[in-house]
């Protein structure tokens, strides 16, 4: 979770220094959703993510250096600069295709689950998407098929649509969805669905491991809605970090500007988890600070790698339009 947080905050600096192109989306505030959920998966499982994919990839073990290189359009990027922040795919980790079309991955993940069931591999597909994806027609169409055919797919809806630090506000209905709660939608298609607090890593882990177990037992698709409170840095068109996160904010949020302080105090999943680790005696404050120092050093190294990586040659633009003949 610290790797993701510091990766994204450094990305914002890189953008502000002019190293990235176009729009990009950060995963800050959702770390306690992706990390515990993805930790429940097996090596052969497939994952589909969206424009907000950096956290998912890192949670699955992607190298920050090659991910930065991809986002910076460099030749050492996972996709040699042809996917970028919106489309980073790492097939070896099960991320075959990352789509920035809202809702686009819901049928695709269902298809991977179809293949797993047809071949009886025991593998499953996880589809990680935001609440907005449920507004697209692809979502109900694919949920219906997944349920009809009892396909091994976990739909993990990361509902970050809620503004404001007030938990009661966070539970409010999306202005764009007549279905409320959102889990009414999968339930209409007879897909078991639960809502969990997406800032509580333990709660997400319990829900995800339970869902994964049911899917592996052949009980068909499962749906989890994780509710997070939108990070105040996402309230502008472009991410703007109110503060450079340090794990010490878990005990003293005074360095955060007052306007955004409440989010860091009560809604930040990384800081919540840090407090939990200390309160339960799993780690000391000092150990967490030392861990964070290591993470920051790794991020420094990853940034150096990416900035040193050359841009692809222009000919690269003409490669990989079509795959060669022959059975793999």
């Amino acid at each position: 979770m610290l790797v993701i947080r510091h990766f994204e905050e450094r990305l914002i600096s890189l953008h502000d220094q002019g190293h990235t192109r176009g729009h990009y989306h950060v995963y800050i505030g959702q770390e306690a959703t992706g990390v515990p959920a993805i930790s429940c998966l097996a090596p052969g499982d497939s994952l589909f993510s969206t424009h907000r994919n950096h956290g998912h990839l890192l949670a699955r073990g992607a190298e920050p250096a090659r991910l930065y290189a991809e986002i910076l359009g460099r030749s050492d990027g996972y996709n040699r600069g042809k996917g970028g922040t919106l489309h980073t795919a790492v097939s070896a980790l099960g991320f075959h295709h990352t789509s920035a079309i809202v809702g686009g991955i819901i049928p695709l993940a269902t298809g991977v689950a179809f293949a797993a069931k047809a071949r009886k591999t025991g593998e499953l597909a996880v589809c990680l998407f935001g609440d907005g994806a449920l507004e697209e027609g692809a979502a109900p169409e694919a949920l219906n098929i997944a349920s009809l055919w009892k396909l091994p797919v976990l739909f993990l809806c990361e509902n970050n649509g809620k503004y404001g630090a007030d938990r009661r506000v966070a539970a409010a209905q999306s202005p764009n969805m007549a279905a409320y709660p959102l889990t009414d939608l999968p339930k209409a298609y007879k897909i078991p669905a639960v809502q969990v607090d997406g800032t509580d890593a333990g709660e997400v882990y319990s829900a995800a491991s339970d869902a994964v177990e049911k899917i592996r037992r052949g009980q068909g698709p499962q749906f989890i809605e994780t509710q997070t409170v939108r990070w105040p840095g996402n309230e502008e068109n472009w991410p703007v970090a109110p503060v450079a996160t340090r794990v010490s904010l878990a005990w003293d949020a005074s360095p955060v500007p007052e306007k955004q302080r409440e989010w860091y105090r009560s809604c930040d999943p990384v800081l919540i988890f840090a407090r939990e680790l200390v309160e339960r005696g799993v780690a000391t404050k000092e150990a967490l600070v030392a861990l964070e120092d290591d993470v920051l050093k790794d991020i420094d190294g990853a940034v150096r790698f990416a900035l040193a990586s050359p841009y692809p040659e222009p000919e690269e633009a003409l490669r990989d339009v079509f795959a060669a003949e022959g059975r793999p």
């Binding site: 042809k82 996917g83 991977v112 797993a116 098929i145 003949e325």
Partner: protein, 326 residues
């Protein structure tokens, strides 16, 4: 040599493909869709009966079942998705055009998508505006898709086999008016590679480049013109992507006169692209302006005389050839 009806060759290909490869699933929301609304459609039931686990009938959700097939292909299956009427592909456009076509490229060559989309395009008679699209030109504007347009019994069989074996998303665009045409189909015939145009009729006076059902219509026109002493060469590209432009240009260089016949609308249609390429590569070889015989730029009307009025008819082809060789 054995002669088969087009629909028989097509069914035989699908049966052989499904029997030979358990990674192939046929996915269609209408069980008889493979042969459209033709009277032969009931013959498909035999395949469905023999391979019950491999003939899959999803709900009427083109967007989702095309996406499902694409996802399954990413994981190694080789689905044949039947959209039946080509117009229905528009319901699945985001998945075909924006997911399947881009996946291999965006992933930097990591993720293959060996899926086949089967479509029945064109003026089928009474299809009206919403069931008569010929989307091959729209699809040709989307790099990453292979586009196949068979026109004979032998081609439909050989090209379908190659389509299923391809590691790329392939749009297999067929025409219901071809189903009853007959032709030689050798036993145990090999697959026909993509990117090999076929000279369907040899001639020395004018080159007709035609696709799909327009190949048969052009052959009929050529037969008529032969009686007047005009020798028409009919070149069938068979696949638009990849395109065998060499064979087309070799014919153009021989005759110096070109008519392109295609069922897309005139503007930005397949004929428009072929004409542009021929002019770019061989303007100095042309003895006369190139003519296009295409569908007029209006939505397709229902009533028979209206539909005929906008169609690239045999009469239109004959007139265009006359104008070119004059």
């Amino acid at each position: 040599m054995r002669e088969l009806a087009y629909y028989e060759a097509k069914l035989e290909a699908l049966r052989e493909i499904i029997a030979a490869d358990d990674s192939v699933h046929y996915i269609s929301d209408i069980a008889t869709g493979f042969l459209g609304l033709s009277p032969h459609r009931v013959k498909f039931a035999e395949i469905a009966r023999d391979f019950p686990d491999r003939v899959i009938a999803p709900p009427i959700s083109e967007l989702a079942f095309c996406g499902l097939a694409i996802g399954a292909a990413m994981k190694g299956l080789r689905p044949v998705v039947d959209l039946i009427t080509a117009s229905f592909a528009l319901e699945a456009w985001p998945q075909i055009v924006n997911e399947a076509a881009n996946a291999y490229y965006m992933s930097g060559g990591q993720t293959r998508v060996p899926v086949v989309f089967h479509l029945l395009h064109g003026l089928r008679g009474g299809g009206a505006a919403q069931h008569s699209h010929s989307p091959q030109a729209m699809l040709w504007n989307c790099p990453g898709l292979e586009i196949v347009l068979p026109s004979s019994p032998r081609d439909v069989k050989g090209l379908l086999k190659t389509a299923v074996n391809s590691n790329n998303p392939t749009v297999f665009i067929d025409h219901v008016r071809l189903f009853d045409c007959r032709g030689d189909v050798p036993e145990n015939d090999d697959a026909i590679p993509f990117g090999q145009a076929d000279i369907k009729r040899k001639g020395s006076d004018v080159t007709v480049v035609a696709t799909s059902f327009m190949v048969q219509r052009s052959l009929d026109a050529a037969e008529r013109l032969a009686r007047e002493g005009i020798q028409v060469e009919v070149v069938d590209p068979r696949t638009l992507v990849p395109l065998d432009f060499e064979t087309i240009m070799a014919s153009v260089e021989k005759t110096g006169r070109v008519v392109v016949v295609d069922e897309c609308h005139r503007s930005c249609g397949v004929a428009a692209e072929l004409v542009a390429r021929i002019v770019e590569a061989g303007f100095d070889k042309l003895k006369a302006p190139i003519r296009r015989v295409v569908r007029l730029d209006v939505p397709v009307p229902y009533s028979l005389p209206l539909e005929e009025a906008i169609s690239p008819s045999e009469e239109c082809i004959v007139d265009a050839i006359h104008a070119t060789v004059r």
